[in-house]
């Protein structure tokens, strides 16, 4: 199942997991040690993050290491860029309007 990246970062625990694995690849057990929640719910969060394509899994011996996919995080930058454009366009509307309003005053 494909999920939306924003669904992934909407949850504070998942955001914290992303911060952890951004530093270095970690096993689910090592991740779970940082949280006061069940190993089961950590697995659920890891599954959602994987489905969002934010994490990659590497098998090393008997352990699975989760790692952050940096490229995917850049999607957020695309939204921010869109917002920047909306603001830019708004302000240009206002520039034009200010010219009209100033002329009316005279």
């Amino acid at each position: 199942m494909r999920r939306d990246i924003f669904q992934a970062i909407a949850d504070p625990t998942r955001r914290a997991i992303l911060v952890l694995v951004a530093v270095h690849a970690m096993t689910p057990n090592a991740i779970a040690e940082h949280f006061d929640i069940t190993r089961q719910s950590i697995s659920k969060h890891l599954r959602i993050l994987s489905e969002c394509d934010l994490l990659s899994q590497n098998q090393e011996g008997r352990e699975i290491f989760y790692e952050l996919k940096i490229d995917k995080m850049k999607e957020i930058d695309i939204w921010l860029d869109q917002f920047r454009k909306i603001m830019e366009e708004r302000f240009q509307n206002l520039d034009q309007l200010l010219i009209t309003l100033k002329n009316k005053k005279k």
Partner: protein
């Protein structure tokens, strides 16, 4: 005229900082940000228009508006701006979210905004600090009915730039 436009994002604090100069005096720019009859004219990307349902610019008051277009005259989604603090001609802060037509918040997302105004020589600088409760709220805001408007807006801009060049 080259007007300053600065846009920076601090993802850790989920805050967007915008600085923009406007070629008008403080009185006019303040009115443009605080009077609905002027706000209605510039805050929507074309062909969308802002239609104000009610506006009460005072601390504790609110501005409730919707984006409408010719194809979509009956909006199902409104934007609610609650005015928290106002220092006339200096700054004002708001809490922004989506709402229904009665101004009841829809969903959980919101942002806290502070707009500050600084008069200069024949121009006014506006500083905007927009803090999101969650970056996911930003996605909702950007995609919330205005993707088409954004594209049209870019075309408007091209047209506007052309008229500016030819009028020189």
């Amino acid at each position: 005229m080259n007007l300053l436009f600065d846009f920076t994002v601090d993802k850790a604090t989920k805050t967007i900082y915008i600085t923009r100069e406007f070629a008008a005096d403080l009185d006019l720019v303040w009115d443009a940000f605080t009077k609905s009859e002027i706000l209605d004219q510039w805050t929507a990307p074309k062909p969308w228009k802002v239609r104000t349902k009610d506006m009460d610019f005072r601390e504790g008051g609110r501005w409730l508006y919707a984006m409408v277009s010719q194809e979509n005259e009956n909006p199902s989604r409104y934007s609610l701006v609650d005015f928290i603090e106002i220092h006339p001609k200096t700054d004002f802060s708001t809490r922004n979210c989506f709402a229904d037509e009665n101004g009841i918040q829809q969903g959980n997302g919101f942002s806290l905004v502070k707009n500050s105004f600084k008069p200069g020589l024949e121009m006014t600088t506006v500083y905007i600090e927009k803090k999101f409760d969650d970056l996911a709220t930003l996605e909702k805001m950007v995609s919330g009915g205005y993707k088409e408007g954004l594209e049209a807006g870019m075309n408007n801009l091209d047209e506007y730039l052309r008229t500016m060049v030819t009028s020189k």
